[in-house]
């Protein structure tokens, strides 16, 4: 029920930030619901930032997935080989 898109904060002016949604698509976004600085990523829903995105968490997620998915659970022979 809620389309929200990540974007990077380029500038902050009081309660408004200029956010880049990728490839140079930018829009002014209201940031009164979050504490954010220039350079951080925010999740934007209908023109308002609802969350500051955790970049390490994103990389961590991908790393975790690859680990789970390549875990020996899926390749029994590998387990015997360990």
């Amino acid at each position: 029920m809620c389309l929200a898109i990540p974007g990077r904060v380029l500038e902050v002016r009081g309660n408004t930030a200029k956010v880049d949604f990728g490839y140079g698509t930018t829009r002014d976004v209201d940031i009164s619901l979050v504490d954010v600085e220039v350079g951080q990523y925010v999740l934007v829903h209908v023109g308002y930032a609802i969350q500051v995105l955790d970049e390490e968490e994103a990389e961590e997620t991908l790393r975790l997935w690859r680990e789970i998915l390549n875990s020996s659970e899926s390749r029994p022979q590998a387990r015997r080989g360990e």
Partner: protein, 337 residues
């Protein structure tokens, strides 16, 4: 609520097709010239066969807000739209005619800019504008200015939008979604570091080279309703399925991110400088290279293939899943959910 015209009836989607099929076409007992393509085919143009020659005839009305937008204006839109409708029927444009309706109180300078832009597009294609008409309506009756443009062309071999055969390849001659998104973005307050321009452009030169290579089985001008609407038309009329590979579809990053922002599907966004070409498998690569040699065809790509079927358009998605590409209902609207 079937008894009133809604804005969506002009959106280029299913509602418009139903209005035309149920109300307009049945009204005319005579709707084609003997042996030619007529109204019922609802193709980009109609044909008038006269002792061995195929005269192609088309007409379209143009309304756009704002009148001047990044990459184009209502004048260029009217000329290119008409030239492209003729081109995708396989016809070299011979002459155009336009009637312009003006709102009382419109600065004449605006009219001057529009007709000047129309002239530049006519020069680019090398086709004359030989007839016209001008009307003025009371202030408030019309939003500034509207153009109806008609065109006549000559086709050695007529190409319809219903000639696809299993095994054919589908080519998009350029990146999709630029035109309508550049307009929508102005309204939704999106800005772009590199301005997102409409793709409005005349495609006859490109298509002339394509026809010279040969092997073309169908063509369509995907304006309102986007490629989703156009491909559904082509699949339905040809009685085939079309399999589209999302990975191959040429789309600019800025269009993808802006469309995602607004909850829009780029396949449904109107284009004004892109053609869809169906071509026999053996000729596909050669036709693609011919398109890419043209300045408006640099981003062209083979985006799909034609299969046995019953008129569906199926998309193989980026993650390898499959979905049906539906004919849009009306004009796309930003969604939040």
């Amino acid at each position: 609520m079937k008894d009133v015209i809604k804005l969506e009836h002009g959106g280029g989607g299913r509602l418009m097709r139903e209005l035309v099929e149920e109300v307009i076409i049945p009204a005319y007992r005579r709707n084609r010239v003997e042996g030619g393509i007529g109204l019922p085919e609802m193709d980009d143009g109609a044909t008038i066969p006269i002792d061995g020659c195929n005269i192609v005839f088309t007409t379209d009305a143009y309304t756009v807000r704002p009148l001047f937008f990044p990459g184009g204006d209502i004048g260029r839109l009217a000329i290119c739209g008409t030239v492209n409708d003729l081109a995708v029927m396989g016809a070299a444009p011979l002459a155009l005619a336009t009637s312009i309706v003006l709102e009382e109180g419109l600065p004449i300078e605006v009219l001057r800019r529009v007709v000047d832009s129309m002239n530049r597009s006519l020069e680019e294609v090398g086709v004359p504008l030989i007839a016209g008409d001008t009307k003025v309506v009371e202030h408030g009756e019309l939003d500034k200015l509207m153009i109806n443009a008609s065109g006549v062309g000559l086709a050695e071999r007529v190409v319809t939008d219903g000639g696809l055969r299993p095994g054919d390849r589908i080519i998009f001659t350029g990146t999709i979604g630029n035109h309508q998104l550049s307009l929508l973005s102005i309204r939704e307050g999106l800005q772009f570091e590199a301005p997102l321009e409409s793709d409005v452009a005349p495609l006859w030169d490109m298509i002339r080279e394509v026809l010279r290579v040969g092997g073309v089985t169908a063509m369509k001008d995907p304006t309102r309703g986007g490629v989703a609407g156009a491909l559904n038309d082509m699949a339905r009329k040809s009685g085939v399925d079309i399999l589209l590979w999302e990975e191959e579809i040429p789309i600019r990053g800025v269009v993808r991110s802006a469309a995602e922002m607004l909850g829009l599907d780029p396949l449904e966004l109107a284009n004004e400088g892109v053609a869809i070409i169906g071509v026999e498998r053996e000729k596909a690569q050669e036709v693609l290279e011919a398109v890419r040699r043209d300045r408006y065809g640099r981003d062209a790509a083979i985006v799909g293939e034609v299969l046995e079927g019953k008129g569906r358009v199926i998309l193989e998605t980026l993650v390898g899943g499959r979905r049906v590409v539906r004919e849009p209902l009306g004009s796309p609207m930003p969604r939040i959910c």
